[in-house]
């Protein structure tokens, strides 16, 4: 279970990105995070694995206070939290298989990984994950030779290599066309339903939210403005989340 308590983030320049956010995510839930661009979705997700250091508040995951973890503990926590990014964030010049294997870096001994050595079982596992997302034949290509949808699958395979208990997906389909978007969302859904991995996924399109999410939280200017089921977002709620002038498109 993930508990976020009174989370606040103020950036160095004084920008208030998150204000007093509190919510709870039971293990195995698919939680969608919605809100306008700049509403703090990315900051929220990055605070959870402390890629961004929270200013105040607590994040407690399975009874462990993430915000108080030492660097060593943080490394062990992070390796159980997979992350998927809007721009995929693959290392372009590395091979696909190397990008996937990078998901094991939190587990293997640093000294050997510096020599680019991975245990055999990890290499086999990497091939299995690539097969799971349907691009096993691309394993030895360079990452930047792949199309956007394929790159995001590599990103998911990398997250799966971490043997995650939770996946943070930061607008995973925002750079993809609608058909690809559904195929990527289906992979996340499968991981959530079949493996029981908690998924926190920020999304732009409400139809995706309705289709995939168990529950929704909405942010507006860094504040939590809605928490509930996708079906509860009516026109009035919609205007609360996206502003008075907004019109529904999806």
């Amino acid at each position: 279970m993930l508990e976020v308590k009174n989370l606040t983030k103020v950036y160095d320049g004084g920008v208030q990105a998150l204000t007093d956010i509190s919510f709870t995510v039971p293990s195995g839930q698919f939680l969608a995070v919605i809100g306008l661009s700049g509403s703090g979705k990315s900051t929220l997700l990055r605070c959870i694995n402390r890629l961004i250091e929270p200013t105040a508040g607590q994040i407690i995951w399975n009874g462990v206070d993430i915000t108080a973890a030492s660097p060593d503990e943080m490394r062990r926590i992070r390796r159980r939290i997979g992350m998927v990014f809007q721009h995929f964030n693959l290392v372009h010049r590395s091979k696909v298989i190397t990008n996937v294997l990078a998901g094991r870096l939190g587990y293997i001994n640093p000294a050997w990984s510096l020599l680019n050595r991975f245990p055999d079982q990890d290499v086999k596992n990497a091939m299995r994950q690539l097969a799971r997302v349907g691009i096993a034949d691309k394993a030895n290509m360079r990452a930047d030779e792949l199309s956007g949808g394929q790159q995001q699958r590599v990103g998911i395979a990398r997250a799966l290599m971490q043997d995650p208990e939770m996946i943070l997906a930061d607008e995973p389909v925002a750079s993809l066309d609608p058909v690809l978007a559904h195929s990527i969302m289906k992979h996340l859904e499968e991981i959530n339903k079949k493996d029981g991995v908690t998924v926190l996924c920020s999304l732009h399109f409400l139809d995706l939210v309705h289709r995939y999410a168990d529950r929704v939280i909405a942010l507006n200017e860094g504040r939590l403005v809605f928490e509930g089921l996708p079906s509860e977002i009516d026109d009035e709620k919609f205007k609360d989340i996206y502003g008075r002038e907004a019109e529904r498109v999806g």
């Binding site: 694995n49 992070r78 995929f88 964030n89 693959l90 590395s94 870096l105 990398r158 971490q162």
Partner: protein
């Protein structure tokens, strides 16, 4: 009101423009004065004559020459004419060999006679001279008349008879030369070739040395990597203290290994055995100590055993390194004698072995220093996490005071050594006191458990050092190295290498700063540590620009190494400067030509390679 403001502004603008023009005028006028611009000098006939001479010489590089055949004919002549009329010139018996005919056949001093030559080399040039005395074989010759033969080998010339009188016959000598065979390289060309090869390899070695050392420096000098490095004060202080402790300890340990290894160094079979077995043993020990994957945190006894195993592995590794070095020295000396013209391969092995032997203590103590420092830093980190705030505060106070005192005491020792002050009360105790006070103040005024941006501090210090060193020209560094290692290409390698390190580190670090942050973030999110992040997210992104900059730097180094010889740094510059000083412009021209060819070739190669890799 508004119009007057506009007017004022435009007036003010005009005044400003006028002042600017005046200022520019004054600056350039002063510049002309300082740089002594003077076209009169250029117009003076003396200057023009030398300019023409030098220009012509520069366009005739001394590259090729012919072997020359000489045909020398000495024909007797009487000066003055003997009593009783003229003596007819003796008619040569052999009309097919070269011969000279004078008219008249004798002459008084100061007379001009006509000399005709027959059967010499066709279309050849040579000298026609008067040989005083009565010995036709003497080297002494007077006059500097030149003659040129026609297609039949015939020439007609006049010769002024000098005031040398003798009752017996003296001689007139015609020396004609012709080129034979194919053109051959001159000695200058050979020397130039030898030195230009030296130049290219000087640049290669300097670039290699520079690249190897610039890469780690470039990560430390990259703001985006260092910005996020933060550590609590206790950890920083301990890691600072770890460096001197580790370096001294490391030097001692490596020295012991060296002493242990020395008696085994002479026997080549022992070298072979040691050099082969030691790395394997070290590898096995390291593999046991560093399992590929750790599922749960190991207990304390196991950790200590692993640490001991790593230490042993390091000892065995250093032993192996010494044995390999001895092996290279012995084997190189052995095969060097038998390789003939490939002796340089043996020499290379001997020198490389010697280099390994020399730098092992340095590298070893630095490595141990780094290891101890990072171990201490972890201790500090742990301590900061485990202890209460007030305990941490006390720990910080003690450690920061000690670290400050040690750092400034070391700095004081450096000052003492440089300026020979002989004032230990200031350089040792005074400095320690200041450092201790600074450390204590820092500890008092920082919150007990906050992390300080040590990364930014290291970054700033590194950048400052790099910028300072970079502003010292390689030529100036070469002068220092010539004093340290003597005149020759090695001094040039050191100077260019040092300059390459600092300038490449700067260029590289700018590349690191411009990488995409996304992959960095993604790798960090997997739980990778800092080093892993660099290897998996940073290095793949910077390989192309690194190759490109390295090529570019080699290009620059070739260019630089052509002139580093001016200050004794070896390479072709030495020859060039020598020939210019000797006014031997044709030889200097050959060297300039060689430089131009090599630089242009390097330019082409490096741009082609850069295009391919980027």
């Amino acid at each position: 009101m508004k119009s007057t403001t506009t007017k004022n502004t435009s007036l003010w603008k005009s005044v400003r423009l006028g002042a600017t023009i005046l200022l520019v005028f004054v600056v350039y006028a002063y510049g002309f004065e300082i740089t002594q611009v003077n076209l009169d000098e250029l117009r003076s006939p003396q200057r023009q004559e030398s300019l023409v001479r030098v220009t012509r010489a520069l366009f005739q590089p001394d590259l090729f020459t012919y072997k020359q055949d000489e045909s020398v004919v000495n024909t007797p002549i009487y000066v003055p004419c003997p009593e009783g009329g003229s003596v007819p010139a003796p008619t040569p018996e052999d009309r097919s060999a070269p011969y000279l005919v004078f008219s008249p056949g004798c002459a008084n001093p100061g007379d001009t006679i006509q000399v005709e030559g027959f059967n010499f080399y066709p279309n050849a040039e040579g000298a026609l001279r008067f040989i005083p005395g009565n010995d036709p074989t003497t080297k002494l010759a007077l006059g500097s008349d030149t003659v040129a033969t026609d297609a039949e080998g015939h020439f007609v010339a006049t010769l002024k008879i000098p005031d040398r009188q003798s009752p017996q016959a003296q001689y007139v000598r015609a020396t004609l030369r012709r080129n034979t065979g194919l053109p051959q390289l001159t000695d200058t060309a050979r020397d130039t070739w030898e030195k230009i090869v030296e130049t290219v390899f000087l640049a290669l070695l300097a670039t290699t040395l520079g690249t190897i050392l610039a890469i780690p420096l470039s990560f430390i000098a990259a703001r985006n990597l260092m910005k996020s490095v933060k550590s609590p004060l206790g950890s920083i202080s301990l890691s600072i203290l770890g460096w001197p402790v580790g370096i001294v300890g490391g030097y001692f340990v490596v020295d012991q290994v060296s002493a242990f290894s020395a008696p085994l160094a002479e026997n080549i079979y022992l070298n072979l055995l040691g050099g082969a077995l030691a790395p394997v043993a070290a590898m096995l020990a390291a593999r046991w100590a560093l399992p590929e994957m750790e599922t749960q945190t190991p207990g304390v006894p196991l950790r200590i055993a692993r640490l001991a195993s790593l230490f042993l592995a390091a000892l065995v590794g250093f032993f192996g390194l010494y044995q390999v070095a001895s092996l290279m020295v012995n084997l190189g000396a052995l095969i060097g004698d038998r390789l003939g013209s490939f002796e340089f391969l043996g020499n290379f092995m001997v020198q490389s072995g010697d280099i390994i032997r020399t730098i092992t203590p340095v590298v070893g103590s630095l490595a141990v220093g780094g290891a101890v420092s990072s171990f201490f830093s972890r201790l500090g980190q742990r301590g900061t996490e485990k202890l209460t705030k007030s305990q941490v505060k006390l720990m910080n106070l003690v450690l920061a005071t000690t670290a400050g005192a040690v750092v400034l005491a070391l700095l004081g020792q450096a000052i003492e050594w440089l300026y020979e002050l002989n004032r230990p009360d200031i350089t040792r105790w005074g400095m320690s006191l200041v450092g201790a006070a600074a450390g204590a103040l820092l500890a008092l005024f920082t919150e007990a458990k906050t992390s300080l941006p040590i990364g930014l501090a290291v970054y700033t210090v590194t950048r400052t050092i790099l910028n300072t060193l970079r502003s010292i020209e390689a030529l100036v560094m070469a002068i220092v190295f010539v004093i340290a290692v003597g005149i020759g290409p090695f001094a040039g390698v050191m100077a260019l290498g040092l300059h390459t390190i600092v300038s490449l580190a700067k260029l590289y670090s700018e590349q690191v700063e411009s990488i995409l942050p996304g992959p960095l973030e993604a790798i960090e999110a997997t739980g990778a540590n800092r080093l892993q992040t660099i290897v998996y997210a940073v290095i793949p992104q910077i390989i192309p620009p690194y190759i490109s900059y390295t090529m570019y730097r080699w290009d620059i180094n070739v260019r630089m190494s052509t002139i580093i010889g001016f200050v004794g740094g070896g390479g072709i510059g030495f020859l060039l400067q020598q020939n210019i000083n000797l006014l031997n412009y044709r030889a200097a021209s050959a060297q300039m030509l060689a430089i131009a060819i090599v630089v242009a070739t390097m330019d082409y190669i490096s741009s082609t390679l850069r295009e391919r890799y980027v």
